[in-house]
């Protein structure tokens, strides 16, 4: 990590327990994460993993049971939401139904006590930023879902918060609009320079938009890293499984050299593998490994192929083709290869096929 990059939000050992006694729900369990200034940071995880709880703690709607939340070094964990320079874009937008688009956008500035002229100028600027100038005086019930989304964004951005929190803001939009808004959000983030903390359960959204991703499960952060790190080098089984499609195999560790190791595959052949950062497992141990379907190619079995299996199924997907193989130990293995203009799939179902691993295809998981 770069030390000269300033931390915007520092979540330090935060726990959140709802209720008490035997019914208590541990929504967050000793979570720590430092989110940098001007970063597009995503909290990714399935529903109930605690990502929205963490966002609500940062916004101030709930207060942590234990731990600190610092904004530029100042502990804000027990400040009410209206005293935090942090704004939220809500999942259902939560636009005020009794106000116009412009009144909604100006509300925050008005509450901050800005003079009328300044509020009007800011509202104008925000309307242009989200390309909604023509609809300034509409009621919020008279505009479409995508437009409401833009108003919600403009409303949260208008007071120039230090951090913008986004709680699954795209989940209510249809696919095409969602793609557009993904690009729009990236643009807004780089234009405003505001730190975005984005909550989603959609791994594709997380991969395409984020500078960094924190993958959460059961109230804990399992891994923090760039999209590429998280995808290519998942540290835990849950992360590998949640993000993208993957093959899980068991292998034996041979030689460990720094961050890589040689493993013996179920087929008995050796392969180079990356180790999860910060771990130094002993040689000779059984470990779980993951191989992404697109990090392999299929070939006729030879000394160059690391694994062999019987081809069960071929599914054509347009840009690529999925091959389902049954390995010797009866595990399922999926290979994905891009379709080329010239070639036909060279294999038929039922054939014995070899698997060639690309460099860095094998990732060892933490136990």
């Amino acid at each position: 990590m770069d030390n000269d990059e300033k931390t915007a939000i520092d979540v330090d050992g935060v726990s959140k327990i709802f209720g008490s006694g035997p019914d208590a729900v541990h929504a967050l369990d000793d979570v720590s994460v430092a989110i940098r200034e001007n970063e597009f940071f995503t909290l990714l995880g399935p529903s109930g993993c605690g990502k929205t709880t963490l966002l609500r703690l940062i916004a101030g709607f709930d207060h942590p049971t234990a731990g600190h939340i610092r904004l530029h070094g100042e502990n804000i964990a027990h400040l009410p939401p209206y005293k935090r320079p942090v704004n939220t874009v809500f999942q259902n937008y939560a636009l005020f139904p009794h106000m116009t688009v412009a009144q909604n956008i100006g509300f925050g500035l008005e509450m901050l006590g800005k003079p009328k002229r300044e509020v009007a100028a800011s509202v104008d600027e925000m309307l242009s930023l989200v390309q909604m100038r023509d609809l300034a005086n509409r009621q919020t019930s008279q505009i479409s879902g995508g437009q409401q989304q833009r108003v919600a964004l403009a409303r949260a951005l208008a007071p120039h918060p230090k951090v913008l929190l986004l709680d699954e803001p795209l989940s209510a939009l249809d696919l095409k609009l969602r793609k557009e808004m993904q690009i729009e959000l990236k643009r807004l983030q780089s234009e405003t320079g505001i730190t975005f903390i984005f909550v989603t359960h959609d791994q594709e959204e997380a991969l395409t938009m984020s500078n960094r991703i924190a993958v959460m499960s059961a109230g804990k952060i399992l891994q923090i890293g760039t999209p590429r790190e998280v995808y290519d080098h998942p540290a835990e089984r849950f992360v590998a499984d949640f993000i993208g499609e993957t093959n899980f195999l068991t292998a034996t560790l041979q030689d460990v050299e720094g961050s890589t190791a040689t493993v013996t595959l179920p087929s008995g052949k050796p392969a180079r593998a990356s180790l999860p950062s910060g771990t130094h497992p002993d040689a000779g141990r059984q470990v779980s490994i993951v191989i992404r379907p697109e990090h392999v190619t299929l070939a006729l079995p030879s000394h160059e192929t690391s694994l062999t299996g019987r081809l069960e199924d071929i599914v054509y997907f347009g840009t690529d083709t999925h091959y389902r193989l049954r390995l010797a130990d009866d595990t399922l293995f999926i290979a994905r290869m891009q379709n080329r203009r010239d070639g036909e799939a060279a294999f038929d179902p039922g054939a014995e096929v070899g698997i060639v691993l690309a460099d860095g295809a094998v990732q060892v998981l933490r136990d």
Binding site: P81, Y82, V86, T88, N92, F96, P97, G108, L112, A156
Partner: protein, 302 residues
Amino acid sequence: MATDAQTAIVGEIRRSRLLTLPALIVLFLAASGPLLVVLLYSFLTAGDYGGVKWAFSTEGWQSVFLERDIFDDTVSVADAHLSIFWRSLRLSLMTTLLSLALGFPTAYFIATQPEKTRNLWLFLITIPFWTNLLIRTFAIMEVIRNRGIVNTALMKLGAIAEPIQMLYTDFAIMLGMTYVYLPLMVLPIYASMEKLDFRLVEAGYDLYATRWRVLRRIILPIVKPGIIAGSILVFVPSLGAYVTPRVLGGGKNLMLGNLIELQFGQGRNWPLGSALAITLLVIVMIALLFYVRAAQKGGEHG
């Protein structure tokens, strides 16, 4: 071809409207018939022993606001009637405000409870409703009379030496009416409040609005229709209240309802009673008109 279908449908609707005619006639007569009788009586001459004589007279209407001296026939403003009008209006407005002050927090409290317990709270609110009005009113009397619960407790505690006279005052009437009509305030406000998306409240806090400002700028405008409905539901029956002012006002502090009753009873002046009843109706209509206009304003935003 669409037009053919449409004409068919329109014809169908016309025919079904005809079928509702008998019901409409019954409703019209039942609703406006007695009212027309009251209107007619207000323009007749009072009978010697109650009832009316069939002779046209505006005496009833004149007596609403004016009184004739028995001895020298001079006409002056009916102070007694005006003070009763004024007391009715004042007590009804104060009852409405007091109900609002008590009912709004109550409705807010219920609406923010977990869904399971809300029905229990609503049930508790409506329990007095299942109880006979007279019994409820006498219960209030028991609480506030000179040797009632409040005065006895205060005297035992040594806070006061002499009982405070609460019964048979305007205060007693207002207290009684507030107690009786409070559920009518709570229920409509709760109905609006329940529909209020509490994420809007969070959005308000998030956008730097303090609690007070969230209440004034977000919650109040959105639940306004409920507040107006509740206020009307409390104001209108308060204005015509009869039992509560009779029991708790002790027959000295009359309200409109008692005055009207008096004309049909001891006063033996049915035309005046009828004119007063119509006047009360007009006041109620004006209040309703205000309600409809305010509700339409709210509707534009909602």
